[in-house]
Amino acid sequence: MAFNRVKQWTTFARVWYLFDAKWQDPIISGRVLSKYLLGKNKPIYSVGSDCGDYVVVINSKEIALKDDLWRTYNYFHHTGYAKGATYTPAWEYHENDPTRIIKNCTKNALPPKIYRNSLLSRLLVFPDDKVPKDVIKNITDQIQPSMTPPKRLTEFSEDEIQNFPRLFEWPKEFIIDDLKGENNQTVKII
């Protein structure tokens, strides 16, 4: 039945997803990506059938960690020999290889089963936008980012800043220089 053969082929085809990890928390996005790798985003999901998808993560250099985790969160590794324990803080871990944090988070989110490594092989992570051409050709869909990236003050244009309404009125007859700090600098408000 050519129609059924082809229809079945497409339903079970592996879909390639793109995920922009800019300003996304790796832990939360790890849980989301693991769903796609397992194939839990498809109504035809079943545990045995390997109906997972491919996920291509870009901008993994610009992931965002909560509060002060870059400094406080440590990645533990032990060589097995005496004094082999090492604690690398998250920022150093990220500096060594920007793709490892998000890979580690998806690994933790996946069930600790034998097929986990084969699933992880379907996760391609790139530190920035530069993705090889043949990978781009495969991508067909996008995973919705959960966090909207904030804008820095430097990224705002001049007139945007000017047009923004002011929230308070200066006190009457106030001399701006009274704001001088103790060490007598002149305080300029831009």
Binding site: K40, N41, K42, P43, I44, Y45, T140, D141, P145, T148
Partner: protein, 154 residues
């Protein structure tokens, strides 16, 4: 050493069916076990009873396992239409649409359009009654397959 069994046995010979038939009843169930558990009666019968033990327990668990699989599938299907599993089932039950998970699961797989209309029904109900605050519209900057495919409208 004196072999007494033959002498004693002459009078007390037990007539009855061959011992093999009782054992074949067991081997019927253990033909696919591993190694001697498949052939030797003493081991086979132990493994068989343990298997039956598991069977009775799993008979109850089977319902739960199916419910779990159905939940993930319905959740996946709902997410494609922008609604979560919990909101979907909650609003269906409140609208007195008593479709159980088995039926919803089949609809999700084999009748995608029916399931889509069911999702719309649920969404409309949620919006009307203000059950949950649904983020219905697509976030900007995300385009997906449904934006391209032109379904045949007939």
């Amino acid at each position: 050493m004196v072999h007494l069994t033959n002498t004693l046995n002459r009078f007390g010979y037990i007539h009855g069916p061959h011992r093999i038939y009782k054992r074949m009843q067991v081997f019927r169930f253990t033909w696919h076990y591993y190694g001697r558990h498949r052939r030797c009666y003493k081991l086979a019968v132990q493994r068989l009873h343990k298997a039956w033990l598991h069977a009775t327990r799993n008979r109850k668990m089977k319902g739960l396992l199916y419910k779990e699989i159905w939940q993930t599938r319905i959740d996946a299907a709902c997410k494609e239409h922008g609604i979560k599993y919990f909101e979907f089932t909650e609003s269906l039950t409140r609208q007195n649409i008593h479709l159980n998970h088995a039926v919803l699961n089949d609809l999700a797989i084999y009748e995608p359009r029916t399931f889509k209309s069911l999702c719309n029904v649920a969404k409309q109900h949620i919006v009307n009654t203000g059950l949950y605050n649904l983020t219905l519209e697509e976030p900007e900057g995300v385009f997906n397959r449904s934006m391209f495919t032109d379904e045949l409208k007939q």
